[in-house]
Amino acid sequence: SQASAGESQAGASESVESEADPWSLLLPVDGTDSSGLLPPLFKVLSDRRGETPKLQPDSRALYYMKKLYKTYATKEGVPKPSRSHLYNTVRLFSPCAQQKQAPSNQATGPLPMADLLFNLDRVTAMEHLLKSVLLYTLNNSAASSSTVTCVCDLMVKEPMASSRALPRAPYSFTLKKHRWIEIDVTSLLQPLVASSERSIHMSVNFTCTKDQAPEDGVFNVPLSVPPSLILYLNDTSTQAYHSWQSLQSNWRPSQHPGQANVAARSMKEEAAATVERSPRHRR
């Protein structure tokens, strides 16, 4: 079968090489609409027909997402059964244009008040938000072993100015161990994403102190700003993989528990009856 697979592979690659544009392989010869012919992934990519991404993502963001991919899937792209999460989509957004930076002064802590604008157009209506975090990358100059406690104030400015700050749960982390700092902003973004808001303007303010020497006042956390925004989503469309469904399909649920039990009981009674009837079995 390897030989036959090799043949089919060689055959296909010849036909692919022979065609200047591989799209002719995928698109229907009569030029009709290909949506019914192509699987969703191929449809999405064939719409981009050989272009190259105009905007390249930030290298640190790409590194983070590659690590996430390796955690969730094998080299062949098969989701690992060990994964226990319900989200089947993760989107990482870099801020569009960093808005004007409020001057950093003692009051706003070591980090300048960062104004961030995220455009979430790529989030589809079928994708429901389960969790979202702001992801900060620590500069490698942060390799000090000090433990730092930070308080993060986050305010959403648009679409509606809600000066609701995050519950000021102090985030404490040891700089040496962390390459990334994740600030959970789910409670703040949930209503916005649910209301199909796709442009989010927020400001973030970090105030950190060293645990060993709080008298030193605020500590200059070497964060490489701006942060990325990561959304963990559950895509409810039919094209997406729903792990809980595959769990259910392995486990055959009875129509109604009562009904199933009745069936089981009657089968048991039936079996007992046949045993009684045939003398041989009785021995």
């Binding site: 079968s1 296909a12 692919v16 969703p40 990519l45 190259t52 790409l62 993760v90 957004f93 157009d121």
Partner: protein, 135 residues
């Protein structure tokens, strides 16, 4: 069978082993039996490697081969498959034999760069055949 053996006895002396191996051949599974085959596709072949960060290659696999007559337990085929087999063999050969098709799939996880520069990890349903069946 006695008559047959006696009548054969008059013919050229056939070695018992030859008859037996011929006889048992009919019970062997067909050489090109229905099973899963690989087909490794690289996204650079389709010029999608600009957009797809991972995986680099995609092996959707496919099912190919003849369905043996005893499909019940080996392929988990429904009873209908055997009915169709009997119809093909005994009643009407224009009815096709059971076909070798995928019976189970697994999803595919893809990491892509979006046109706006954002990065997306998505899991697409039923993109890899993992088991064949005869139907």
């Amino acid at each position: 069978g006695q008559k047959a053996i006696r009548s054969e006895a008059k013919g050229p002396p056939l070695t018992a082993s030859f008859n037996l191996s011929e006889y048992f051949k009919q019970f062997l599974f067909p050489q090109n039996e229905c099973e899963l085959h690989d087909f490794r596709l690289s996204f650079s072949q389709l010029k999608w490697d600009n957009w797809i960060v991972a995986p680099h290659r995609y092996n959707p696999r496919y099912c190919k081969g003849d369905c043996p007559r005893a499909v019940r337990h080996r392929y988990g085929s429904p009873v209908h498959t055997m009915v169709q087999n009997i119809i093909y063999e005994k009643l009407d050969p224009s009815v096709p034999r059971p076909s070798c098709v995928p019976g189970k799939y697994s999803p595919l996880s893809v990491l892509t760069i979006e046109p706006d520069g954002s990065i997306a990890y998505k899991e697409y349903e039923d993109m890899i055949a993992t088991r064949c069946t005869c139907r």
